[in-house]
């Protein structure tokens, strides 16, 4: 087996004295969709941010594309073509949609802006009609689209998505999952996904992990995890989806 694109080994991280990650092991291989599920406060968002060094891992190692990035400054990690659509969307409210996309493109000066823009607006046509609207005035769903679109503008190799379906109408959420699938299948984009919508996210994923209280407690193929009674009971509400 070849080296995974992202390899997280025994990572611990904390906020002050509160330990949020207590020794996490997780791999994402090139071309995969990997889903991480877990209860509120389990540490999923923390793990995604720790990949970027915010907060920094105080133990363990994070290897990306063969390089140890555990102590690398955040902006340099971002320039290695890892993009994140983080929790809370964090779009720039006082910038236009277009400027937000320009910000996303800035990590990768080699990429062709016009071509990427066309590609991304093709995925999210709603944004195309709102290019000059201020980010802060978009609807929640549109902001979510913008956050993903912005992350895609830098032509990432690895895309981290923290709850991309949060607050979206079911139909739009489904569209987002379809887009993720398409990006992965067609462009071979590697995706690491955190979701509360466990059924859809695991169905979409090649592999999945379950996090409880800062530790990975289960791992397996997406389908495999969906079948497990513990997963069904805790994350699928007895099979309702």
């Amino acid at each position: 087996m070849t080296e995974p694109l992202l390899s997280i080994r025994g990572v611990k991280a904390s906020y002050g004295h509160v330990a949020a990650l207590k020794g996490v092991d997780l791999d994402v291989s090139e071309g995969e969709i990997v889903t991480l599920i877990g209860a509120n406060g389990a540490g999923k968002s923390t793990l995604m941010m720790t990949v970027f060094g915010k907060p920094r891992a105080h133990a363990g190692q994070i290897i990306y594309s063969g390089e140890d990035i555990t102590r690398r400054p955040t902006h340099l990690i971002a320039r290695m073509r890892i993009a994140q659509a983080p929790e809370g969307r964090r779009i720039f409210a006082r910038m236009s949609v277009y400027e937000n996309l320009q910000m996303g493109a800035a990590v990768n000066p080699d990429a062709d802006f016009e071509q990427n823009l066309e590609h991304v607006l093709g995925l999210f046509p709603r944004l195309a009609q709102r290019l000059h609207q201020r980010g802060g005035t978009l609807s929640g769903g549109e902001q979510q689209m913008l956050a993903i679109a912005r992350a895609l503008m830098g032509k990432p190799r690895l895309l981290l998505l923290d709850e991309p379906s949060l607050g979206l109408a079911p139909l739009i959420a489904q569209q987002i999952f379809d887009i993720i699938h398409e990006l992965n299948a067609r462009d071979r984009l590697t995706v690491f996904l955190v979701e509360q919508n466990a059924y859809h996210a695991l169905k979409l994923a090649h592999r999945g992990y379950v996090m409880v209280n800062g530790l990975i407690t289960m791992a397996g193929s997406g389908r495999d995890l969906l079948e497990r009674p513990e997963v069904k009971a805790a994350y699928l509400e007895g099979g309702r989806h």
């Binding site: 409210a93 006082r94 910038m95 902001q143 912005r150 830098g154």
Partner: protein
């Protein structure tokens, strides 16, 4: 009527200088949420850099063309003042980032005291003056007793301010650098996730603020012809007032606030008591903070999260 028009002209000139300084306050506040108390003294330092450069250029190198001399002074003052402010940020503020909120503020007050004392020791406590560089004026209105004039000096202040503000506005609103600055101002963490070097962007912000303060300093020297180590404080507070009045964090607000403070000060001097003109500025600061804490163009905090 003549008095009014004359004071309008004088007020806009003074206001241009305040506006240029105010931008430094407002930008730094916008990006790291700190009132840079030393900024007025950075302005004062720039007036001395301009003074020394002017003497070197005119007496030692012997350049006699006023335009060329002023241009050289402006460029040198902008460069050196930027360097000074860059060093201040690196030494006095950056190490304190992430510690308790008041720490950089205290450090800034210390820096302010250091700068004015340093200049006092290095240049002496007395006023330093330069011979008038630019003389001559247009007579705009002649009311017999009272003439309304627009001096060449004033025109230069207006023109230089307008050109540099336009350049500055272009950088902030249209370039990748300006976009990174605005991104850091809104969400530093997210900016870093998008590959922006936040520390470097903050440094550049200090550099830009200092460059504009140096433009103000050069104009101040040319306009008044006299500088003093103490000249950082009062213009600094007035420019800060301008930034608050315009809405701290807002760039056009800083310019509008500067012009307003300049106008209020000159009108006050003309119609009330010149002795109380500084009191007027401070009173405006207090009143603004009480009744209009957002300032004229301050951003309303209604944004979706």
């Amino acid at each position: 009527m003549e008095v009014f028009v004359q004071q309008l002209i004088n007020g806009l000139t003074l206001g241009s200088i305040y506006g240029l300084i105010a931008i430094g306050y407002t930008m730094v506040f916008g990006i790291i949420g700190m009132v840079n108390f030393a900024h007025g003294d950075v302005f004062m330092v720039s007036t001395f850099i301009a003074l020394v450069t002017l003497l070197i250029v005119t007496t030692w190198i012997g350049i006699s063309s006023v335009v060329i001399a002023l241009f050289i002074v402006l460029v040198v003052a902008m460069t050196l003042t930027s360097l000074v402010n860059w060093a201040i940020e690196r030494l006095a503020y950056r190490p304190l980032r992430g510690s308790f909120r008041l720490a950089p503020l205290i450090s800034a007050i210390g820096m302010s005291i250091f700068l004015s004392n340093f200049v006092q020791v290095a240049q002496g406590p007395r006023n330093k003056s330069v011979p008038p560089l630019v003389q001559g004026e247009f007579i705009l209105m002649d009311g017999g007793v009272y003439q309304v004039t627009l001096s060449y000096k004033q025109l230069i202040v207006w023109a230089v301010t307008a050109i540099l503000l336009a350049a500055f506005w272009y950088v902030v609103s249209r370039t990748a650098l300006g976009r990174s600055q605005r991104a850091c101002e809104q969400d530093q963490k997210m900016a870093a996730l998008l590959g922006v070097d936040v520390d470097r962007t903050i440094s550049i912000t200090f550099v830009m603020g200092a460059a504009l303060a140096a433009v103000a300093g050069t104009m101040y020297l040319m306009y008044y012809g006299v500088v003093n180590f103490n000249d950082g404080f009062v213009p600094g507070v007035k420019a800060f007032t301008a930034a608050v009045l315009g809405g701290i964090g807002s760039l056009p607000g800083a310019v509008i606030g500067g012009l307003l403070i300049g106008l209020i000060e000159t009108m006050w001097s003309a119609y009330f008591s010149i002795d109380y003109k500084d009191v007027a500025a401070f009173a405006i600061l207090a009143v603004t903070l009480i009744f209009l804490p957002q300032g004229i163009l301050g951003r309303p905090d209604v944004e979706k999260v």
